[in-house]
């Protein structure tokens, strides 16, 4: 028996998010949720299911189908002292609210000389792999990570799903939380109290000496699976979950590559001009003299994500791609 025991219960990623939302609503009367179909329908991914019944329409607000309008309303509420948590169904639709996010939420603190901060949390689903076609399969975390004034977080684990919201609500600036669609049904044990979850640091999810696999979100599990298979042939891959894409925790990445001297970035976004490109550039800037091989990227093929299952699989980073990249990097004449 130890103190952590009561935490170790098996829940889904979705449950972890819902529990976190519930706790936030209970803790602070200024917190309210807003988004499409989050009330009566329970949320496109059923994350907010049951919350309308528990908290009522004033705090669980179904919004009209206008991302620009309800994200704008969320920004206004935040400026007015509320702590809105806005859900955008998926990153695909967030483009309709991009003006509000980029031109208003991200800039107001700066333009008001620090007088008007926007403590807004926006949650949205992201990613591909569910055969929902090119328009509904985007991974645009990299786009948002380009914008100063935003904090971009990507919970990949049950603990992070449960704890990152609380950490996000503690910030006075807008935080965007990207939840990969394929993770909602993932089951796991909650092991860390929410109080221990930060949105500052990347984390080493698996230690290894031969290569650093740098990733985030659902790709984390592909990397862990690749690392597991590589271990069978004696290759020890270190797996880093970036967790926060902006601001990036350079130190954790740097230290890892100083140990392994090799790095592969695994990212479901398109290869060019994305997060993987950014990480790669930073490795050049920070650890060039530690590198024993050129940094590699395992990313999505640069096409609109196909609908057909076999083609969608071929377009996205897969465990086999990661393993091949590692093996090619380690290839050596004995």
């Amino acid at each position: 028996m130890n103190a952590a025991e009561p935490l170790a219960r098996r829940i889904t990623y979705r449950d972890a998010l819902r529990d976190a939302l519930r706790e936030a609503l209970l803790r602070d009367p200024n917190v309210f949720l807003m988004g499409e179909d989050i009330g009566r329908y329970g949320g496109c991914f059923a994350v907010t299911k049951g919350l309308l019944e528990e908290f009522g329409e004033a705090r669980i607000r179904d919004a009209p189908l206008s991302e620009s309008a309800f994200v704008g309303a969320g920004i206004g509420a935040a400026l007015g002292g509320m702590r809105p948590i806005v859900e955008i169904m998926t990153v695909n639709f967030s483009l309709l609210a991009l003006d509000q996010i980029l031109n208003t939420a991200a800039t107001l603190c700066h333009m008001s000389g620090g007088q008007c901060s926007v403590p807004l949390v926006i949650r949205m689903a992201t990613g591909a792999g569910r055969q929902v076609g090119a328009q509904h399969s985007h991974s645009l975390e990299g786009w948002y990570s380009h914008i100063p004034g935003l904090r971009i977080v990507t919970p990949a684990t049950i603990d992070d799903a449960a704890g990152m919201l609380k950490a996000a609500l503690a910030y006075r600036d807008p935080v965007i939380m990207f939840e990969h669609m394929n993770l909602y049904n993932m089951q796991g044990e909650l092991t860390a109290p929410a109080a221990n979850v930060d949105i500052e640091r990347a984390i080493v999810r698996r230690a290894g000496r031969d290569v650093s696999l740098i990733t985030y979100g659902a790709s984390l599990f592909k990397c862990l699976s690749a690392a597991e298979q590589l271990a069978a042939s004696g290759v020890e891959a270190e797996v880093i979950d970036l967790r926060t894409l902006r601001p990036l925790d350079q130190q954790t990445v740097t230290e890892s590559v100083q140990r392994t001297h090799r790095a592969i970035v695994v990212d479901e976004g398109w290869r060019s001009v994305g997060i993987a490109a950014e990480i790669s550039a930073r490795l050049m800037e920070h650890v060039f003299y530690e590198l024993d091989a050129p940094v590699q990227r395992v990313c999505s093929v640069e096409v609109p994500v196909p609908y057909a299952k076999h083609m969608e699989e071929a377009a996205l980073p897969q465990v086999a791609h990661i393993i091949s990249a590692v093996e090619a990097m380690l290839a050596h004449d004995k």
Binding site: H261, Y289, L291, D292, A293, M329, H332, D333, K334
Partner: protein, 389 residues
């Protein structure tokens, strides 16, 4: 421009070292490869080469001082441009015409892709720290890149020897030799050939040469043998190089390693670099120098790891012939037995002549017996015309 000379890492485990002596003083000009100091580590006293050029400005550490790796030992000033004052305005004048020259008037630009040794940044840094001349390292990474692994392997292979080896060090060296030889026997399909060679012409030539030479310039048979092997390796490049990645990569340089047994059951094979291009007196003096330094434990990291082919001899032990084991990733090793007085048939009559057995162990993946026979024949014939060596 000033640069710093630091305490190098002379072995993978070295954390600190004692400066035994300086070989330079302030004001001296040094160039790449010069030995500037002797450093004592737990592995022995090692001659430390410098890889920068310039003038020694100041020695910062006194002999006898024990300092950590990376400590600045001396300051150097770099080579200055010959005429700084006149160079600057000229440059400015060159830049002034701002108009873009028509394409036809542009000088031919050198090709952007030039053949350049590929070295990973980490490998370069490690080689620098270890004092290894990276231009002589063969890369085994994908695309022949020199990687950390190559440098680390070299550092282990060239771990310098001491004059008074401890039991542990002997044990370590036995382990290293054991590993290399086991790998050789496991992986390399050896074939063995042997050829007897009459040494009387070579002996007469040596006697004649030595009778008019000063003691320092006298030649020993080993110089002839080594030169003959170097020339054969140059002429038949399939015996000179490395087998890696399921393929043989010939070396354009011939570096003949000389297996030298040391006291305490240890064995090293430092190389005579580019022996095919050196004169006999030059090879002899290098051999003398090597023998002295090996006994004293003063070996340079570079010369221990670059052999492209090896020669071994048990002549002093009275051994008639020997069947040596290839030192991987090399593909051939030549063995010389003792020069023994033996019956030898000349023109249908038996006489007594000095005879040496030359043997070859070679990698059957690269060459076969016919090629091996040609290789031995090449050495044999070279020894019949010693004046041409």
């Amino acid at each position: 421009m000033t640069s710093e000379f630091r305490m190098p890492t002379l072995g993978p485990d070295m954390e600190s070292g004692t400066l035994v002596a300086w070989q330079v003083k302030p004001g001296d000009t040094v160039k790449h490869g010069d030995i500037v100091a002797q450093v004592e580590t737990d592995k022995g006293v090692i001659d430390v080469e410098i890889f920068a050029a310039g003038t020694v400005q100041k020695l910062l550490v006194e002999p006898g001082a024990h300092v950590p790796v990376g400590t600045v030992l001396a300051q150097l000033s770099g080579e200055e441009p010959t005429d700084v004052t006149s160079a600057v305005p000229e440059r400015i004048n060159e830049i002034e015409p701002a108009r873009v020259a028509p394409a036809a008037a542009l000088p031919t630009l050198p090709p952007a892709v030039q053949k350049r040794q590929k070295i990973s940044p980490a490998a370069r840094a490690r080689a620098h720290a270890l004092g290894i001349d990276i231009s002589r390292v063969t890369g085994t990474g994908a695309g022949a890149v020199v990687t950390l692994e190559d440098i680390n392997r070299l550092a282990v292979r060239s771990a310098p020897a001491t004059a008074r080896p401890s039991a542990d060090q002997v044990h370590d060296m036995r382990r290293v030799i054991g590993k290399a030889m086991s790998r050789s026997k496991r992986e390399i399909p050896h074939y063995y050939l042997s050829m007897d060679c009459c040494f009387s012409k070579a002996r007469s030539w040596l006697e004649q040469h030595n009778s008019s030479a000063s003691i320092e310039q006298r030649l020993l048979p080993s110089a002839l043998l080594l030169k003959a092997v170097a020339l054969a390796a140059h002429a038949l490049p399939d015996f000179n190089g490395y087998y890696k990645d399921e393929a043989f990569v010939p070396s354009s340089d011939v570096h003949v390693g000389m297996a030298i047994a040391m006291r305490g059951g240890r064995l090293v094979a430092p190389a005579i670099l580019n022996g095919d291009q050196k004169s006999l007196p030059a090879i002899m003096s290098e051999l003398r120098d090597l023998a002295t330094r090996v006994r004293a434990g003063h070996m340079r990291a570079t010369e221990l790891a670059l052999s492209t082919i090896t020669v071994t001899s048990l002549a002093e032990e009275g051994v008639g012939s020997l069947m040596p084991i290839i030192y991987p990733p090399q593909v051939a090793i030549v063995g010389f037995g003792s020069i023994l007085e033996q019956p030898w048939v000349v023109g249908g009559a038996v006489c007594v002549a000095p005879v040496i057995a030359i043997s070859l162990a070679a990698d059957h993946r690269v060459t076969d017996g016919r090629a091996g026979a040609r290789f031995l024949r090449h050495i044999h014939d070279a020894l019949q015309a010693p004046e041409a060596l």
